[in-house]
Amino acid sequence: MRWTAFLILAACLNVSATTYAQRVTVKLQNASLEEVFSAVKRQTGYLFFYDRELLRSAEKVTIQASNQPLESFLLAVFKDQPLDYSVKDKTIFIKPKPVTPAAPSANAARQEVTGTVTGTDGTPLPGVTIRIKGTQAGATTDVDGKFKLNAEPGDVLVISYIGFEQQEVTVGAGALSIRLKPNISALDEAVVIGYGSAVRKSLTGSVSSVRSKDIANSPVTDPLAAMQGRVPGLFITANSGLPGTTFNVTLRGQNSLLKANGPLFVIDGVPYLEESMNTTIPVAGGNQSPLAALNPADIERIDVLKDADATAIYGSRAANGVVMITTKKGRAGKTSVNANVYSGASRVVNRMPMLSTAEYLAMRKEAFANDNLTPTTDNAPDLLEWSQTENNDWQKRLIGNTANQTEAQLSASGGTAQTRYLLSGTFRRETTVLPNDLAYKRGTGHFSLDHKSKNSRFGFRVSANYTGDKNNSLPSDMSYVFSLSPNYPVYGPDGKFYWFSSDQNPIAPLSRTYNSKLRSLITNGEIRYTVLPGLTAKVTGGYTNTTMEQMQITPPSSLNAQSSANASTYFGDTKAHSYVVEPQLEFKRAIGKGDLSVLAGTSWQENIRDGKRTDASRFSGEEFMHIMDSAGVRNENLNYYMYRYNSIFGRVTYNRDGKYILNANFRRDGSTRFGPDNRWGNFGSIGAAWIFSDEPWMKQLSWLSHGKLRGSYGSVGSDNIGYYDYLASWAASNSAYIYDGSTGLTPSRIANPEYHWEVSRKSEGGIELGFLKNRILFNAGYYHSLTDNQLIDLSLTPQVGFSGLRDNFDAVVQNAGWEMDLTTDNIRRDHFSWTTSVNITIPKNKLKKFDGIEKTVYRDKYVVGEPLTIVKGYQFQYVDPANGKPVFWTKDGSGGRPVEFTDFVILGNAMPEYYGGLQNSLKYKKVELDFLFQFVQQEGGEYNYGRLANAYGMRFNQGREALDRWQKPGDITDIPRATTTQANTLFDVYRLSSAVWGNASYIRLKNVSLRYDLSEYARKIKLNRLVVYANAQNLLTFTNYKGIDPETQGIRLPPVKAITAGIQLSL
């Protein structure tokens, strides 16, 4: 049934032609071929089909014809053109004239010239056009990049190839070896967009890209880490420095009050389920990043689609932008085998300097004196029982080790102009900065095959990524040890772990284990067929299958017997699979002076996730804790959903003269995340661009090589909410809880079948300028987005029995901002080149409207008119010099203890004020150096911010600013006096106040890459290519932040700085 519908659609799109006269009357002087074509089309109804690029080589035409048969007219027109044509049905196809070997000449000097054409990396380039300057004679290269032609010495050969700079070579003696440089004008680059690709110059929307070189230069596990600082509008922060952990990704600000604000990820054209496979089992550093299943080395490019114009084709999932990841494909040519190995070491970027034992004990004694208390063995073992001299640097001991990483990749690629393949395998091992022997290990296989028939009408491609990883980690982040007393004993006199009261021993948690195994298969493919000239039908599809097994063991020996926690093992087992099928029709045709292209398609998608967490305890012994069957008690928790998604979508693009471009998108989406009556939503956009530098009146400005204005407006949505909030149902209680022989059911939720899509209305305007033959490129864009119908948890008064229900709320979130990037080609000489690119984003976020906020849980968190990312807390005023107690602002001016929420002020904004990156690429002969600085201007909570921070003087160590604490009447300071009880210095207020909120800006030398190309020596040992290199990540950080790290903030394992060295070679 669906296929029938599809075919009907195909039929609808097939424009029927009417019969017209086959004679033409034309009188043209010095006209372009396009003008001729349009005259012919008008009179005969014949359509012309051609690549606009081809017409550039065409000569102007002067012709006069009166009622001339079409055929002879065309012959006349094309006589002196480097072009040929053929007629089929009612379409005239324009193609280049076949290159014929030059006619044998009487000149005896003519000789056979041979040569090879390769890219800068030495890969042979097939299909390159070689022409003898000033003649039509020439040749093309074969699969191995080799060519042969007859020429005279002194002839100049013009070598041209799409995507490469044209080059001229003078024929001399011997074989020619020609290396083509890639065309460096970023404007001619093809970028990946939703359901297609486009040339950057003619884009109407906002798209930023990261290329494989920059990804490959970063010694990281997750592709997201390689994108930090490189994309305007995209703010990425690490959650932890442990390998494989998640990142926070925000594109152009937080649109939604719910936390779901990540972009949609699309891999090779197929939407990817960007969801961690972890069950709720805790693990240090948090869940595993779903993108860690993708090997950065297998990525060809990443294009980030930002505005409505670029994203609306993804409709309901596009509110937070779309990240298009394209994996590597095979290259035509003889089989090339590449190997790449690197290895290196890493450490945490920073450790926090703390008080020494002597300083700490002094502060403790002072605290007891201040409180008029006598230390006892119960409240002050650190003063009375523990060593008074031992000085442990817990951070050094637990997170201060050196981790190492090794990655090895082997790939083979090759093929013909018709069929290309790539096969690669990568192994990566990365250890951690913890003292245990912990590691993240990953093996990935990547396969890509694409084929097209000889006449290019039929083609297909398939690619598959298989990843298996093993993560040996710990159940919890060890960074919390930073505040342990520096004289805390690890072992008691009996040689066993020392336990005080209900404290956690600092070393015991290291004997707990967390292991996970992930298997991920991501496959996708496409089959396309050109049904009629200009009309292509294709079906893309994808299938993913991911499983994750987790096991966390807490052995009894790692537990304080005082606490009631039981020795247990948590087993996690999650399976997820998904498929997507997307039939599409693409139609391209020249209409008038422009090109029209139309895309229409539908999409069916299903995701199923089936997870189980089993908590097992009562093992017969510690050595059996990894065997589920040996547990005496097992509790199971299930997690299951089935998600389906269905859409129709379309796009129309009209490009007139390459100067005026109009683009419109439409998508209608249905999602099972909504009640049956609210499943469907319509989204769309319109975008336009004007390349004013191509206007004749602008051509006089020789310094302006490119100028474009673009703008777009559209609506996109978000369905990123729970799966079943509309469904009235009861959920099973924990299956192990049997009560009087029966399991339990409890109501799942207050179901609301009424809620519907959250919609973002986005507009954008931009200008792109190129100066001095595009050696300077500047882009500036302003974006504005209003997201309404906010899908939130409507809080209910507790007497209802549930805390809330999912509903739309009449709240509007505004995101607006500036994005700019500037690329300059500072020096371009034969042996030395230097380019610089800088990008900056200035985002602004505002809760524009939220009627009735006072009736929701959000009233304590948000303020209308302020950003969603504000942080509220108490306003610290001063530490009273008389008694060392802090004083806070209160609404009633009493100066006493402030009241939670009532006396809150806005401390600051957790979103950066601006952020960006600065990249420099230098090349001298065979040496290349790239380095990237990332900069972020922001505020954040310092290490003593948060409900878990402890007062100065309690049995916890403090940072070195504690030395500035109030000690005697008259001391002027911001640090309160030492005390043994939080309440004495209102520390429970202080730790949520402006006193511990401050500047968290930083500049980070994110990436440095140094490469030395030794290929010229390598050829002697039959290697095509040999490069040695060194890379570094997070090498230097400049910050005034009071805490461990301004990127991760709080008490977490900070990112690591890594230095690696490697070698890359090709056969």
């Binding site: 519908a5 059911l745 029995g801 549930f802």
Partner: protein, 461 residues
């Protein structure tokens, strides 16, 4: 024209097929509303869900919190260290945003939601076995009454929510305590009719007819309906299935003959039995107890020879020389199979209810004899036959204190309902004490989300 009609056909077929494609089934971890009260098994699970929610976790309301934290609020229990969440109870300085003031309210109303959903679903169902339907409906109404009994005793007037329709329940104002009690009595009477004499599976972990009587006896006592209280308590005491167990160490065992209604221990991973034992009994041989019995107000007040001191309290002298006592009615921290369940209603209380009801009706001898039953079990001599009514009432208060300490806030509620709180607790709680402290504040969050709610006296700003 033809093209347009084709497009319309296309769009129509596509939309039809798509809607079908999007009709996904109920996830396998859930049961659709329409199926819950359709089968005996699902309906039983729905009612069972109430008990499981009450007892699956600690520190919500039932088990440890109502047994020990309510004891801290009274004069029988205190906590080992300073902990603000508990100290507000100890020092009678509860605030509308105190953790447990809000947590109890939220937890009990969530149980009431499930009970209401069961009452609605069971009433509407036509496919259940009639006898089972009655049993389950009786259980749901019993539990609803049980929850409201605690709500009115903790918070005073409370919203009387009897529906799952949030559009109705979210606006309800506080209902007069007497009206809430009327509903409690109505539910318990209905439950008494609906429930059978026996426990469905022989385990005393679901209410039966006797449990309904026992709860009615308590409610009548609290409402000063002495004759009715006596009648109901007599019905329980006269039932041969129950007895005042001689062996104090057996009273709190699962399915003991003293038990009228217990909550089964369900979260028994690691061999855990009741939460009470898990929390109260020190973790190892050298550790001190966390929830401690008050030495001055309770331990030293036991009459000499009271067997309950020896059998129902635990004691330990720490290295520092200090001696601490803990509530040891529950004795089994870990054991498989489970040996103890959390007691909700037991015979001891019924004797005390009847004693008080009789004495109030001037049946002094009968009342005294009920008190003596309790005293004899505790190895204490009988009361002096010459005691007057006020003296006997004083004896009831005292006997309840030693029999029911660290159980479901009995002591706290007793002092309140007999207007003795200020006399007894005032001196103990210190300067913060006010007569209005007998009621909790209405949670701040509840008021801020339902503007129809008012605050209790003594907690208004």
């Amino acid at each position: 024209m033809k093209r347009i009609s084709l497009l319309i056909i296309f769009a129509a077929t596509l939309t039809a097929s798509c809607n079908k494609y999007l009709d996904t089934p109920t996830p396998k971890t859930e049961v659709g509303d329409e199926k819950v009260f359709a089968t005996d098994q699902n309906a039983t699970s729905a009612v069972t869900g109430i008990y499981i929610s009450m007892n699956s976790l600690n520190y919500l309301w039932a088990n440890v919190m109502m047994n020990f934290l309510a004891g801290i609020h009274g004069d029988d229990v205190y906590y080992a260290s300073n902990f603000e969440d508990y100290d507000v109870f100890k020092q009678a300085r509860l605030l509308p945003n105190s953790t447990y003031v809000e947590r109890f309210w939220n937890a009990i109303y969530s149980y009431i939601y499930t009970a209401n959903a069961c009452v609605e679903g069971l009433t509407a169902s036509t496919t259940l076995t009639p006898a089972l339907k009655d049993q389950l409906l009786g259980e749901a109404r019993f539990m609803r009454a049980y929850f409201y009994f605690y709500l009115v005793n903790m918070y005073g007037d409370v919203p009387l929510v009897l529906t799952t329709d949030y559009r109705v329940s979210e606006k309800l104002p506080r209902e007069k305590t007497e009206k809430v009690y009327d509903q409690v009595v109505e539910d318990l009477r209905a439950a008494k009719q609906l429930l059978g004499d026996n426990y469905p599976n022989g385990n005393r972990v679901r209410p039966n007819k006797t449990a309904a009587s026992a709860m009615l006896a308590r409610v009548y006592l609290y409402r000063h309906e002495w004759a009715l209280a006596e009648t109901e308590a007599s019905a329980v005491i006269g039932n041969g299935n129950y007895e005042l167990l001689k062996d104090l160490n057996s009273v709190f065992l699962a399915n003991s003959r003293e038990a009228i209604f217990q909550l089964q221990s369900v979260n028994v991973g690691g061999g855990r039995n009741t939460w009470e034992a898990q929390v109260a009994i020190p973790a190892n041989a050298t550790a001190g107890p966390l929830f401690r019995l008050d030495t001055i107000n309770l331990i030293r007040k036991f009459e000499t020879g009271d067997a309950r001191l020896a059998n129902w309290t635990g004691t330990r002298t720490l290295a520092s020389g200090a001696t601490y006592f803990w509530p040891a009615k529950y004795k089994v921290r870990n054991a498989t199979p489970v040996q103890e369940n959390t007691m909700l209603l037991r015979m001891g209380e019924q004797f005390l209810i009847r004693a008080e009801a009789r004495i109030r009706q001037h049946k002094l001898d009968d009342g005294r004899s009920d008190l003596d039953s309790i005293r004899l079990r505790a190895n204490l001599p009988k009361l002096n036959t010459a005691l007057t009514q006020p003296q006997l009432l004083q004896a009831v208060e005292s006997e309840r204190k030693f029999e029911l300490f660290a159980e479901w806030g009995h002591r706290w509620f007793d002092l309140k309902r007999t207007q003795r709180s200020t006399d007894v607790l005032g001196p103990i709680k210190g300067a913060e004490w006010q007569p209005t402290d007998t009621l909790y504040p209405i949670p701040a969050y509840a008021i801020s989300t339902n503007l129809n709610l008012t605050q209790n006296e003594g907690y208004k700003k």
